[in-house]
Structures are given as structure tokens and as C-alpha cells.
Symmetry: C2
Subunit: 437 residues, 2 copies
Amino acid sequence: MSKEPIRIGLLGLGTVGQGLVRLLQKNHAEYVRRLGRSVIVTHAFSRNLTRLRDCDLSNVKVGDDPMYVAKEAPVDIVVELLGGISPARELIIAALGRGKPVVTANKALLAEDGDLLFDAARKAGVAIAFEASVAGGIPILRVMREGLAGNRIEGLAGIINGTCNYILTRMAEDGLDFESALAEAQEKGYAEANPAFDVDGIDAAHKLTILASLAFGIPLELKGVATEGIRHVTERDMSLARELGYRIKPLSIAKRRDGAVELRVHPTLVPKEHLLAKVDGVLNSIIVHGDAVGPTGYYGRGAGGDATASAVVADILEIARQPGAPLSLPPLGYEPNSVQPQPIVPLRDVECAHYLRLQVADTPGVLRAITSILAELDISIEAILQKEPKGREDASVAIITSSVSEQRFNAALEKLLALKFVRPGSTHLRVEHFHGR
Amino acid sequence: MSKEPIRIGLLGLGTVGQGLVRLLQKNHAEYVRRLGRSVIVTHAFSRNLTRLRDCDLSNVKVGDDPMYVAKEAPVDIVVELLGGISPARELIIAALGRGKPVVTANKALLAEDGDLLFDAARKAGVAIAFEASVAGGIPILRVMREGLAGNRIEGLAGIINGTCNYILTRMAEDGLDFESALAEAQEKGYAEANPAFDVDGIDAAHKLTILASLAFGIPLELKGVATEGIRHVTERDMSLARELGYRIKPLSIAKRRDGAVELRVHPTLVPKEHLLAKVDGVLNSIIVHGDAVGPTGYYGRGAGGDATASAVVADILEIARQPGAPLSLPPLGYEPNSVQPQPIVPLRDVECAHYLRLQVADTPGVLRAITSILAELDISIEAILQKEPKGREDASVAIITSSVSEQRFNAALEKLLALKFVRPGSTHLRVEHFHGR
């Protein structure tokens, strides 16, 4: 085996890019032990050449022409850490077209245009790898594509957005409201100045799209993901959920159901003894349910420069064993012609238990009216909790229903909200019981 | 790519072997989607040809000559599920010598003679794979060898023997004593008639040996594992540990320390809020600490025919992509000439916190005498709990010390046990606080 170093062309010197440069230097000897040769960044593109870098770039040619790094620079592997759709997409396609394998952490691009990238890689006969795109330091893509390949994956559920998990954790722990918890997350660098991408569930939807493709061997179906953010969760819901025996967690769920698949991202009540209920702060965790192995769980840091860089290195080391060849494993773990779409269950047909908090005037007959409407629509009540008003507040009635279709639940909800004693500010969330999972 | 099926020669038709036959049949279509060709068992060896099998063997040539299956039968991959050292070792070496890749779940053989097997595979230029040897359905070997390859692994700690975890869980939950919990485990098929292999820590030591080799790139060091079973844990220790804020779990621990490594298997007090404290019953779980990613966690079924078979299939599918070639990744994830021994920290020099339960006569001055001895040896007390005697029992004094070397702790222990008011039946266990892990 050649002892020449593997040369990396790096697109993007942000948090993860700098983390990668640092990690390749710090663990240089360890990688030589693993690979029999060293790995060095020789060329890099940065959007801002004058910004101070928290890493040693003295042996790196840093320039302002990304297309040069992707196409012309004498490198063995191109690493794309720019994020966003364009120009990342064009750069990756250009690199693949020149026969250069690509490692990327770009979940948005993969979820939107992954099939295009995979095609380009296949035509060029080189590898594209993207472990860093989901759940940072948890090697969940390898787990699903290789480790659990003996299973028919029945479903998965995970906390895959650390920002949302941090915000909900702070609300649960210290009774903060959403805005205060978000402000704290921004202060600590866990949330962007524009937090919409995280708190509205878009980032999680990108990641779930990738996970579902690997789980079921289906094309990337971003448009099929039913997505709901966490802005409407209140501290009152946190405490009611707790009293009912649940925690509210930002879950992303993919499930097989009757020849179709469910794909959804939403804040979810999770039984308090379930492991996902205990994963707090910015940590990520994913439960994967295989038919042979049953439920298996994974947790760790989902973001941050070092954790994400460690996933990038895992891909680099794998490709570096055979830099000129395509990976023997296809990107989704299924033969390309076996990757076939499956129907997506529309949200209205999704069946699950629901949590409903109604704000009501404190008058007689309230519970009777509510329970009558639910009974008419054949919706059973698994748990109910009425909290007396404090001071000038309305009373809260919290209900956990049995499993019921979204459509039927919404029909009941419409009638309930029309009751004359129901006040503004009611909330509705979904519940996941992980039966057998 | 050839569309000929991949033919498996199966050595052993016990629980896992039958699970493998069933799984290959059940998920046949799924594997064709993943691999582009099918996987079938064509030949098998069974020790007992007349025993009824819980799987369909109508298309399998089952015989009583294992060496025929290993060397002569027209198969592409040999799967060894016999367990034990001999004849498994000779069969694997014979298969490799004929250029046949081998998949094995044989942790005892790997821990004892893995280096020999790896050498034979390298010389023959074919693959040997063993995901099923540790933690059944959790793909922990792939995680460490590939997923976390970007990290310098600092250490790991895990519950990797389901029998012990089941016994300790039952003791903790229902106050059973060790013998009753063991009997229950045997009734349910979780423990063998001769349970020594599990409850004395030998099985866990085998698995830890494999994990440590993958974590640190060191040769298999079974003799370096300090091993202690769970027979001396009592229901009294369970309840005292709980009152002190801990659970007692059967941990296997591998850590780097000052250029050396610690390898140990023993029942361990774990803080009750740590995720390992919450993994109950026969479930396995492992925490791996990487320098870049920090702590990451994995859990799932550690044993059982289907879970273990799913790990065997993962190896089969990987090898089946290039049946004639060695895997591009060496068995331990490190280049063979980089696999170098490191000093093993002798148990006497291991530093950790200790739990000590002394049974004492209920006389004045007991605590003063105990605390004086500990103070003389410069051992701090982190927590202390005295329980009054019930009926004719002695009083119990439970102590959690600060971190201290085994040697120093033992010196104190010797003096304490010599005190005239200390009665027989005292116990000593180690404590793991996972600082930063």
C-alpha cells in the first residue's frame, strides 16, 4: 500500500471545518495506525479569509475559489462543510465529475437533492459519504446501513435536533417559557440568531428524510415529512405532561404501516420511564426497531465542531482505504435499483394517542360536555387531569386519548374548541407509547 | 455482478444457528434488495442430527462432518456457531486455509486465540468477521472500528452479560437473593444449568477483551482482565446502594490511564441517574468515550437467537459484497503491524471509589473506630450510612470512599475486618462515577 498521505480538499472553515483541521492534527498518529498512511488537509476554501481561525492552517493552502478546491486542487478527497444548497451542490457534483470522492455533512442538500448526488457519484464510480449529516457524533448511518442490515427495520424514533431538545429540557427543568429558553440557547451558541430552521422542525425533517431512506430503502422523501415545530409548547404543558407521567420531547418518527410509511417531526409526549425521555440538553438519541433485534438505542452529542468532525473523519478513513473506488456499499445501503418509493401515510390517517389541553372557564358541566364529545366520536380517554385556576387564570383540562386517527381527533378538537366555555390558548400534542419498542 | 446466490456453510444448529436459518428465509427479499443477490444456507453441521429444529431445513444438506462443511462443501462463506475452543478453532483455520471467509460469534475462542485466527485470515487473504461475538444485536464492533474511528477512544464501560444484569435487576427490583434470582434466570432460559461462565464474569471478560482490542488497537489480552463475579452481592447491598443513590450493575470497564490500560469486570455501583443504571433485565448497554465525540451510548438485546443472528447476517452481507477478497478493514480496525501491546494496570494500582458494607455489633464507638482507620490511610469518606439491626441481625455500616488505589483500600479493609466488633458477612464493591462520561 502506498504510504503517500491522503490529501483533503476542504470546502468551508466554519466550526466543523476548523474542528476537522484540529482533529486531523491531534489524532494524526492514531489515524496512521488505523490506515497505514496519514491524512492531511492540503487545500481549503473559506468564505472569509481574514477571520481568525481556531486551528493551525500553516500547511494548508487557503483560497477564495471553492471550484478550484473541488475540481483542480491535487487532493484525494473533497470534504464539503459549507452547508446550504448552492453552491455546495454544484461543488460536490463538480468534484464527483472529476473522479474525486466526496464527504459531506450537508443534510439540507442531501434531503433536497441527495438522489442527484448519489447518481453523480455512481456515474463517476467514486464514493459519496455523509455520516456527519445526521446526529453528529453518533454513527447512526453506519449502524442502520451495516450494523442492522440483517433486520427489516420496522421504524425509528429519535431526538435529532439538539437545539429543540435543549429548549424543551430547560422548559421542563426550570419552568422557563419558550422565548426565555430560546434566548438562553442562543446565548450559549446552541441556537442561531434566526432559529426557525431548528425550532420549526425543518432541520429535523432533513435528518429524518435521510434516516428513513436508509431504514426502508426508499428515495429521499422530504416533502412527505409532516413537520411541526415546538413554538406552541408551553411551560403549563410541561408540568401537566409531567403530572400525567410523560416528558415532552422533540421526536422525529419514521414507521412502516401496512405497506406504507409514516414520516413525522413534532413535539411528543414520551412515557417518563422510556430512555428517550431521559435524554436531556443538546444530546441526541435514536431508537431503531429491527424485526430480529427488537429495539436498539443510540445516544451522544448531535452537534458541535469536534463531534461532527469525528464523523467526517470516519468517512475519510473508510474512503481512504480505496480512494479510487466507489464504496462497495451503495449510499443508502440498498442496491440503487432496489430503492423504491413507498406510499407515505398522510398525516390525517396517522394513528396515535393525543394529548389535549383545553383552557376552560371554571363552570359546572365542563367535564361532562368534553367527555360527551369525545364519546360521540368514539375516542377513549386514557387519562384526564383537571387543574384549578390560579388567580385570574382559566382552569386547564388535560386529556390523553387512546390511539385514534388524526382526522377523527381533529373532528373532536373542532367541536371542543367551539364549546362556549373553552377559552383561547388550548394546545394539542401527539403521544408516543413505544409499544414493544 | 453475478446473481448467483451466496452459499453459507453453517457450523452449529443451536439457538443462534436456527435463528440464522429462520432470519435468512424471513428477510430473503430484503437481503436481495441490499445485496443484489440472495443468501442461502446450503450446508450445515449439527452435533445432534435427530433433534427437532425450530426452522425449515428442507433445502439444507445437514451432515455430521463439520470438517466437510468447513473445507469441502461448495459454499462461499463459513459461519461458525458451535462455541467453545475446539473443534471451532481447527474448523475456522481449515476454512480460512481453503480461502473461505468465516463469520463467527465465538467470543471465547476470539478472546483466547483471536490473534491466531486473524493471522490465518491475513495469510489466506480472506475475511474473518465477528460482530455477533459481543452484545448480540448491538453493532458495537462496527461502531468502534468504523463509526468512531475518528476518535482516540479513551475508555468504555458496559453491561455486556445479560444473565448477570437480569439477576442483579431481579435482586434490586424484588429483593430476591442471588440464589433465587439465579434460579429464576435458569427457569426462563437466561442462565445455563452451570452458570459459572456468566456469574463469575468469564463471559464478560471474553467480550471485554475483544472490545478493548478494538478500542485501543492492542492485542487480545484476556489474561490482563481483572475479573470478579456477582455471587457476593446481597440484597442488603442492593438496598443500601439504592439509599446511597446508586444501582449495582455488572460492568465491564476498559480505560486508558497514563500510557497503560485498565481492564476489569466486576459488579459496580453506578449513580442512579446514569443511563447504565437504567438498563435493566437482559438488555446490554455500552458507553464509549471518544476524545472528539465525548460519551456515546448504545443499548439493545445482547443475546437470543434472533438478535445474535442479525449480527451474523450483517457480517455475511458485508463479506458477500466481495466474497473473494479480504475486508479492506483489518479485523481490529488497526493495521496489523500497528496493533501493539500496552502495559496493563495491575488491579492493585487501579484507582476508583469503593463501597464497603461492614456488619458490626451495635456497640458505642463503632463509627469512630472505622473512620479513624480510614483517616489514618488518608481515605476520604464521600458518604456513610448506618442501618440499625433488624431483630437478631447485626447493624450495617455502608461507606462510599473517595477515589483511592485498590492497594490502599485493601490495607484499610484488612484493618477494618480485624476490628473486634466487625462480624462476618461484610462486602466490598467498586464504584464508577463516570466523571465527564
